[in-house]
Subunit: 132 residues, 2 copies
DNA sequence: TAACAGTATGTAATAATATAACATTTATAA
DNA sequence: TTATAAATGTTATATTATTACATACTGTTA
């Protein structure tokens, strides 16, 4: 059995908020939403976010400076992330495709670099927006 | 023959700076460096950067908020970018691997989403840093 | 050439995102 | 229990990016 990480108070508050959200959340929007729970300063939010990213409970969508909860129950793939982003409605969803992750995890080129992590963001139009 | 885009004065100044740089440059560092050429305000920099990204002369490294010149002479691949980033020395290089780009350009999953663009960032240790 | 459209520029102000520095408290484990 | 790591609280500030508005340049076409 693996040891289960126990989230701290602030981490839990912030994770729950992001997890409930149907869309990626930005740091200051998170701050606004948790002020009634006693989290008053940006740094408190950023510290929790950093930790949550580190343990794989959330991911940062780099192109949007926003955070979403990991969709994989096991959260083992925080080092191998892929997202699809609709450029019209800004809907973001995590891609879990084992072929893709296998392909990328094993990717190596002539650079001699050892990759320990990757992040992939696809952009396009989602089904809904495409048919408009 | 395709029509060749002609960069404007500010675009040229900023592109030349980024192109000469051995590492990704951040917007305010660019600003600092071009002030002697008469570009005084952040917005002037951001506007040029936006355009240069749009025409594929430079790419934004999303995880670093920094910009590098496109390494592909033709600059046709601004919609399909991949980078390797050393987490120790922060060296960044563009990956041009036709198998990879073919694989990703053709990637499709069950979401029904039509992807028109992607950005991939690999992280790890470069050869030099690995051997330290 | 005049009128127009599109693109680029200049400038000031401000919004949005993120971190530094320092003091204190809580949790974990030796 | 004592030490160590992790988390918290607070203030200030740094960094990244955009809004709003006025002006000028470039190329096209009537």
């Amino acid at each position: 059995m693996e040891k289960q990480y126990t989230m701290s108070k602030n981490q839990k508050i912030i994770f729950d908020l992001i997890d409930k959200s149907s869309e990626p959340m930005k740091a200051y929007s998170i701050l606004f939403n948790v002020q009634k729970k006693g989290i008053k300063a940006p740094l408190q939010v950023y510290r929790a976010l950093d930790k949550l990213v580190e343990i794989g409970k959330i991911h940062k969508i780099e192109s949007r400076n926003a955070f979403i909860a990991c969709q994989n129950s096991s959260c083992q793939i925080s080092k191998a992330t892929a997202f699809s982003i609709c450029e019209s409605c800004e809907n973001v969803s995590e891609i879990s495709n084992s072929k893709l992750s296998k392909y990328l995890s094993n990717f190596a080129d002539e650079s001699g670099m050892k990759y320990s992590k990757y992040n992939l963001e696809f952009f396009g139009l989602c089904k809904k927006c495409k048919s408009k």
